[in-house]
Symmetry: C2
Subunit: 189 residues, 2 copies
């Protein structure tokens, strides 16, 4: 890394999942990828217990993946969702994932987004967000979610973004518990 | 760029400002840097009318700079503040800019932060945020600021982060007007 370039890399174990175009047909399959990324991130010691992936809603084609990389890359902005936005936008070659027709693009994330990522959703161009673990699950682990209020969700919904709790909540919560059991860094407690 | 690496670069014109350690003694000097970055970003056609810089509060030493790079790098997360967090954290070699003593680290930004960047402030470790142009100035230009509420600021204040309007509002607003006059992309309207 020179002084003028920041390199944002995936951990080595993630190479096999970094397959834009691979099809994930259903909501449970899409969420399984996000939760698998969160679990492997903990098991391989490469970061916090959070994973995310972005898909084309209609075809189910993967556009980009992300996993919490705050500690690994010394970068507080690299929550799983933010990395997924960056990588999906690199895949499509645009700063927006919005589509002019079809079902739009969808973010699947292993945990309800924090304030930063929720703001990031608005600018990313995705039109649907599905999360597994809930805000309360993260806060029980002492991860702060920041200034997110019911009006925050209403704001996004008024702009046409659907946000919903989805499958695999228990599995995602178990990954967070495993992280705590390993003594993982709660980097924003 | 390989498929597994994202490179986040500064525009070439910014090299002369990329000088971690350079001292900016006063608030007006610190804000002048942020606003200069916003203006040059517009004049050189490298992005939106927003600049930011992070300083050590006590010494005034620059830690990192940022300028809106959403369109240039096809990355909706690269608001000026987010880039400044990333670069300052790379400078100090930590995911947090928090200090155990002293005045902490300070973000100077040419415009009041959007919802994403305000969430990012919380995770970054800075303890003071000073902005030039106000939310209303950005919204007049049709830049959406996202779900930011009075409670959002209260939330950060309760965690020890000071947020305040500072000098150079008019100059920062003029940069935004110049961007509009050039027909700059309002990438999140």
């Amino acid at each position: 890394m020179t002084s003028s370039v920041l390199s944002i890399t995936l951990p080595e174990w993630a190479a096999e999942f970094d397959a834009p175009g691979r099809v994930y047909a259903s909501d449970p399959e899409r969420m399984q990828l996000a939760v698998d990324l969160s679990r492997l991130n903990v098991e391989r010691g490469s970061g916090g217990p959070f994973g995310a992936a972005i898909f084309d809603g209609a075809s189910g084609a993967l556009l980009g993946i992300g996993m919490n990389s705050v500690v690994r890359l010394n970068n507080s902005t690299l929550h799983a969702e933010m990395m997924a936005f960056m990588r999906a936008q690199a895949s499509v070659g645009s700063f927006s994932l919005a589509t002019s027709a079809g079902a739009g693009r969808e973010l699947f994330t292993s945990c309800e987004p924090c304030a930063m990522c929720l703001g990031g959703v608005l600018w990313s161009g995705v039109t649907r967000v599905v999360f597994a673990a809930r805000r309360d699950d993260a806060q029980r682990l002492a991860f702060d979610e920041g200034p997110v209020f019911p009006e925050s969700f209403a704001y996004l919904r008024r702009r046409g973004i659907r946000i919903e709790g989805g499958p695999l909540r228990d599995e995602a919560r178990q990954v967070m518990e495993a992280y705590r059991a390993r003594g993982g860094v709660i980097y924003n407690a």
